[in-house]
Structure formats: structure tokens, C-alpha cells
Symmetry: C2
Subunit: 190 residues, 2 copies
């Protein structure tokens, strides 16, 4: 689907904008294409934008002591991603975002988002709801982390995002679950 249509339908699920309002809104986004493996945000970078995924799959991840990787989020079409801490607080990125597959994204700068939120009450409403959903999902994941062992978390993940199983290598799924690739391998071969 075309980028503009995808974003339009995504927004329309939460708020109603007129044709002109949406066109104006959309004019603040920049379209970017990336190849598999390319980096969108590197730890240490200044972060100016958040990204809306049109096609492909990204990962947002943290690297500990240059050794271990923990995946905070897989970003699929219609998902938003960035280092929001860095973006909102104007601090250097602590996490990285890169492309698991070739990807097309729309990029919105922090200042444009704030401008659009100030100009259109409806846009502010949209972003409030989007963040709400993210917050709730994050709380759920935290709880699952505390409450469930790896096997259950693995099954939850596949139930929620079945497409991941074929799309992303298993060691990345392990990095999302916070478990070693060996343990994950033993888990589903039994």
C-alpha cells in the first residue's frame, strides 16, 4: 500500500481529519528507504525524528558492553519507533534502530510533531492515544517478564506476532525474550 494511504488509514482509526488537514499533516513527513542491515539510529547519535514503518521490519535494540543485545521492539508496518527518551529529552541515543529487512519508513521530526500537536487538537489526541497504547503494551511486557518463564514468553510472542517466526532469525527472537539463543533453541526443539 502507498505510504500516504497507510498513514491516513492508521490515523483514521483514532481521529478524523479533513482531507486538507491530513494533507498538511502528511506534508511534514519525509519518506526514506533503507536496505536490509542499514542503521537508522546509532547509540550516541542526536535523535531528531520518530519513524512510521510503511514496509519491512526494524528492530530497536540496546547493546550492553558491546556484547549482548536486547531488543526492545520489532517495528512492523504501521508501527512507530524511535529512541523516545533521547527524542523527548534531547539526550544522545542509548538505543539503536536498524533494518532486519529492506524497509520504507516515514520520518517525522520532534519539532514538527510538537508543532502539529499544538496546531491541531485532533493530532494531539492521536498521539496521546498512540502513547497510551505503547505504555499499556510496555507494562504488559514488563509483567510477563517478571511473571513468566522463557517458554511462556516465547509462546506469547508467537501468538501475538505469528509473522515474526518466519521473518526474523531466531537469535533476534532470543534477544527480544532476553534469553540466550542456545536456550531458545533447546526450548522449541522439545
Amino acid at each position: 500500500m502507498e505510504a500516504k494511504t497507510l498513514l491516513k488509514e492508521h490515523i483514521a482509526k483514532t481521529v478524523s481529519l479533513t482531507e486538507e488537514e491530513f494533507d498538511y499533516f502528511f506534508s511534514h513527513f519525509k519518506s526514506l528507504s533503507f536496505k536490509k542491515g542499514q542503521t537508522i539510529i546509532s547509540a550516541g547519535d542526536k535523535v531528531d525524528c520518530e519513524y512510521f514503518v510503511i514496509s519491512g521490519c526494524l528492530k530497536a535494540f540496546y547493546i550492553n558492553d558491546e556484547i549482548k543485545m536486547y531488543i526492545l521492539q520489532f517495528a512492523m508496518p504501521t508501527w512507530w519507533t524511535s529512541d523516545y527518551n533521547a527524542l523527548y529529552n534531547q539526550t544522545p541515543a542509548a538505543i539503536n534502530v536498524d533494518c532486519i529487512t529492506d524497509a520504507e519508513v516515514l520520518c517525522l521530526s520532534n519539532s514538527d510533531r510538537e508543532k502539529l500537536c499544538a496546531e491541531f487538537h485532533q493530532v494531539e489526541h492521536f498521539f496521546r492515544w498512540r502513547t497510551n497504547k505503547g505504555y499499556i503494551a510496555s507494562q504488559k511486557r514488563l509483567l510477563s517478564f517478571m511473571n513468566n518463564n522463557v517458554k511462556i514468553r516465547y509462546e506469547e510472542l508467537l501468538a501475538l506476532y505469528p509473522q515474526l517466526y518466519n521473518l526474523v532469525p531466531k537469535h533476534l527472537i532470543a534477544a527480544y525474550l532476553g534469553v540466550s539463543r542456545e536456550t531458545l533453541s533447546r526450548l522449541y526443539n522439545s
Copy 2:
């Protein structure tokens, strides 16, 4: 500090409301007092409100198989708490909220919040920022969970909220860290 003043100063950190606007905003809150140990939300309940803490300390927690407790959040003065998943999606509460100490809270219904957000762009802005902060904090905690062992998480918690050390029993701190009370005990006696 008086409830109204506390809320007013809290809101003023993010947005500017006129005297009349704030009075109108405030008129939607109900003041409630609880004794230590009293329950505010029980798992299974319908959840209608979110709560702004004026004094005392609450905990929001999940109970697994009627045995293990995991604390999602300690709520101190000027913090907001509820079961947001239940509140926004109108599902029965999955988590509980109760009082670690005697507490005074202001209660705002979901419908009143949405009404106020629709009526005042500034109020919508305030709630967007509040949720943003919560989301960022939740992501940080998740990352710390994956990345750090109990000792480091314990030190992080005390660095962030030194007042907790004297205020809440250690087994609750263990429940926040997702660790057994025995392990926590051994940890800080060494």
C-alpha cells in the same frame, strides 16, 4: 500541602491553565482517604477512575496464581496510578492497587478525563506528556530488567527513590525487583 494546590502545581509544570480553567478541571476530581492496607482496585473489578496521590504511598501489583506478587509501581505524592489497561479498554482489572500507608488521593473518572481532554486542548497536552513520561520510564525499567542483575536493579531503585528504603517493607521492594525476599535480604547483608 492541600490537594488542590498540589495538583495545580503538578499541572503547571506542563501546561498553563487560567484560574477558572483549573477550577473547572479540579471540580471533576473526587477526594478520597484510605487507611493503611485498604484496597483501591481489586483484580476483577470494573475500573472507572485513575488516581492522583496527594499523600501516602500506594502499590499497584499483580498476583500470580494467588501466590506470588509482582509490584508494577509504587505511587507516591504527585504520581498517577490505575489499571490503565482495564481503564482504557473497559476490561476487568488484572492488577490490584492498595495502600502501603494511610493515603489521600484524588480520583478522576475515565469519562471525565476524556471529556476534559476534548474540552481543553491544554488538558489533552498534559495527559499526552504524562503518558509519554510513563512510557519512557516503563521502557527503561524493562531494559534494566533484561540487562541488569538484582543487585544493580536494587541500587538503581534506591538511587531513584531513596525514600522507599524507610517507607516500604523489604519484601515489597523484592516484589518490585521481581526477586525473592530471601535473595534481596542476602544481597544487602553483604
